[in-house]
């Protein structure tokens, strides 16, 4: 433990130089602005920033991306509170109580509470990251091809289920589509060109970053332009600094939401929005002031903001330990790490153990910057909300184009970005979540190589996929996730519950 603390201290001393502090401040502030502007998401911000930092040293670039990520998820709370529109999807739960507070004339106070909750959420998640990443990484060292295959399937199924709660079938279709996209291009075992139709560019495969910029950038530009214009009414902003007694009063909610947020964040592909909603839901169920929820509850606002920010370090845990992203912005972060020559995954703790501590330090610094910036310059930066979308969106699209192109100077990547933007737009219009597609593109290679490798090892025998302990656990989880969304299974579970309770009551009576 002390060795870990010394390591953290060392990393902190590396980053506490004027150059790094300046970068932390501007990138976090830029993240807050990106998150604040409706239509610009954390994923888009991190993706565009990846293209702007690809010439930087690896740790420097990752630091800026983490600052952007944390700043953007927090920044979305501003719009959620002031105009009832979540700046990013992660802040949707914040609108429920944040906006009523603003209407009561407590906009500044609500923003102060959101800032403090986000700070505490991130810090809680950071501690969990520091503790659990090495543990998960060590456990993952026992994974073989069979387990990696199930991990990829598990990621797609659970991401599809949680990002499309109304219709998980669409989530699974989206994930499978992503897995298919990953198979395009030259495969690793025989160098055979799959689905290339003689096209040299396709033989190189579909690059992750242009596809992500398209799905999260271009499609958002189209969606924002399609929506009716948002009339922004300026709210009066008074006291911002929150009262300590409010924080202490709801300490249980903060810890619970931090824990839930981190756990949800760590589930592959699920992300901060679900983390916020689940935290909010749990807070409401456990609250003594249930009637205040939805009408300006401080507890509700704190639960949502703690939950979404705790999900950020949570989403980074599987990135570092398994090379599987916990959310869409984390997927871009993973892509950026690969670009910078960092190889996250189970071997990270052996090959580059310092990197985990570096990331913990980066999250710590970004969270501190977010807290300081979040409580200052509020009135100035809220004015950014008044930028008309028709002035902002062409700039975003120009950055999407040059950002896709800059990484490998290929016109084909611009085409990929445009096509995936259109696909992403169509998917969003038809209620297909796009996060599973992105996760599918990332996990496709893992699934493809490990399934074939396993089959070669067992000469086509599929039994080890179900008899190895970790594989069996994954398989049962997947089955449960799929069946739990089916009505007959729910009825069966309910009937079983009734039978067990009845037999228990009868036994007691006897």
């Amino acid at each position: 433990m002390f060795q870990g603390l010394i390591q953290l201290g060392n990393e902190l001393s590396v980053f506490l130089t004027p150059k790094y502090i300046f970068d932390i401040l501007w990138s976090t502030q830029l993240g807050i602005i990106v998150g604040m502007l409706p239509g610009l998401t954390a994923t888009m911000g991190v993706a565009l920033m990846t293209t702007l930092t690809y010439k930087f040293a690896s740790s420097h670039a990752v630091l800026i991306l983490i600052c952007m990520y944390i700043g953007a998820i927090f920044g979305g709370s501003r719009t959620a509170i002031l105009i009832n529109i979540p700046g990013t999807p992660a802040n949707a739960a914040t609108t429920v109580d944040g906006y009523p507070l603003a209407r009561q004339g407590k906009a500044g106070y609500a923003m102060g509470l959101a800032t403090t909750s986000s700070f505490l959420g991130s810090m809680f998640g950071m501690l969990m990251l520091a503790i659990f990443t090495p543990l998960i990484g060590n456990a993952a060292l026992r994974f073989h091809s069979f387990e990696y295959f199930w991990l990829a399937i598990f990621g797609i199924i659970i991401c599809g289920t949680l990002t499309a709660p109304k219709d998980p079938l669409k989530g699974w279709i989206s994930g499978l589509f992503g897995l298919f996209v990953a198979t395009i291009g030259m495969e690793g075992m025989h160098a055979y060109r799959r689905f290339c139709f003689g096209n040299v560019d396709l033989a190189g495969g579909i690059a992750l970053l242009p596809a992500m910029i398209g799905v999260f950038g271009f499609s958002e530009v189209l969606i924002v332009m399609k929506q009716p214009e948002i009339r922004i009414v300026s709210s009066k902003i008074e006291r911002v600094i929150p009262r300590l007694k409010d924080i202490i009063k709801y300490w249980k909610t903060i810890i619970r939401s931090g824990f839930i947020g981190t756990i949800i964040g760590a589930i592959p592909g699920v992300g901060e929005d679900i983390g916020a909603w689940v935290s909010y839901d749990f807070a409401k169920k456990a609250s003594k002031e249930k009637e205040k929820f939805g009408k300006g509850s401080i507890e509700g606002l704190m639960a949502a903001e703690t939950g979404n920010n705790a999900a950020i370090p949570g989403a980074i845990i599987p990135v570092l330990a398994l090379a599987v992203p916990g959310s869409a912005p984390a997927a871009v972060l993973l892509g950026a790490m690969f670009i910078h020559g960092i190889r996250p995954g189970p071997l990270l703790m052996i090959e580059n153990p310092d990197f985990v501590y570096q990331v913990v330090t980066m999250i710590f610094l970004a969270t501190c910057a977010m807290f300081i910036l979040g409580l200052s310059f509020i009135r100035i930066f809220v004015k950014m909300l008044f930028i008309p979308r028709q002035k902002l969106m062409p700039v975003i699209f120009s950055l999407c184009v040059i950002g896709s192109y800059a990484l490998s100077a290929k016109m084909f990547d611009i085409l990929v970005m445009t096509v995936f933007g259109l696909i992403g737009y169509a998917m969003k219009e038809m209620d297909y979540p796009v996060a599973p597609t992105v996760l599918g593109i990332i996990l496709g290679d893992i699934l493809d190589n490990n399934l074939r490798r396993s089959l070669v090892l067992t000469d086509g025998n599929i039994l080890p996929f179900f008899t190895r302990p970790i594989s069996l656990v994954f398989f049962l989880f997947i089955l449960f996730t799929i069946f739990s969304r089916m009505k007959w299974f729910e009825t069966l579970l309910n009937n079983l519950k009734v039978i067990i309770i009845k037999s228990f009551v009868r036994e007691k009576a006897d």
Binding site: K55, K226, Y405, M411, D431, R452, R453, V456
Partner: protein, 170 residues
């Protein structure tokens, strides 16, 4: 999208998805197994995409049955409905943004990057701010601001990527 329209969209998508999955499956089956080179048949490149294709087709069938039960097959395209669709302000805004953006991508590499980006931003802003019914001279401010934004952003992006990141601009 409303539920009724969503069912129709699902019905149409399910057919596309089924066919898409089927095509993937057929193409995967036709991929070589490299047995003649002594490779293990289970390492064939078509295995994984073939499974994906089969599952996608299966999901297409489920989506088809579901949308069919919800009467998603009741699609009656009429000229009136198409007219209403294109008169919708949201659709107009979407089509304008889409057209300008795609046109920008198509022209990339054919026209100087700085000039093209500037023109794209200028016309994008004007497409949504310029009122054709108003006198052009009364909208001088709109034109000037659009021009200045286009000039500044195009110059900034070109400079940053060309001289700081050393990227050969498209």
């Amino acid at each position: 999208m409303k539920d009724k329209n969503m069912n129709r969209a699902d019905f149409f998508t399910s057919i596309c998805l089924f066919l898409f999955g089927l095509v993937i499956l057929i193409l995967s089956i036709r991929m070589p197994t490299f047995r003649e080179l002594g490779a293990n048949p289970y390492s064939a490149p078509g295995i994984v995409p073939g499974i994906m294709g089969a599952i996608l087709s299966f999901m297409g069938v489920i989506l088809f049955i579901r949308s069919f039960i919800r009467q998603g097959y009741k699609i009656k395209p009429s000229s009136q409905a198409i007219k209403i669709f294109f008169k919708n302000d949201s659709i107009k805004r979407l089509l304008v943004a889409l057209f300008l953006s795609v046109f920008y991508v198509v022209l990339l590499g054919k026209i100087n990057y700085f000039l093209l980006t500037g023109m794209y931003i200028f016309f994008f802003v004007l497409a949504f701010e310029f009122k054709t019914k108003k006198n052009i001279f009364s909208q001088g401010k709109t034109l000037l601001f659009a021009f200045l934004e286009a000039l500044f952003i195009a110059a900034l992006i070109s400079f940053v990527f060309r001289y700081l990141f050393l990227v050969r601009l498209p």
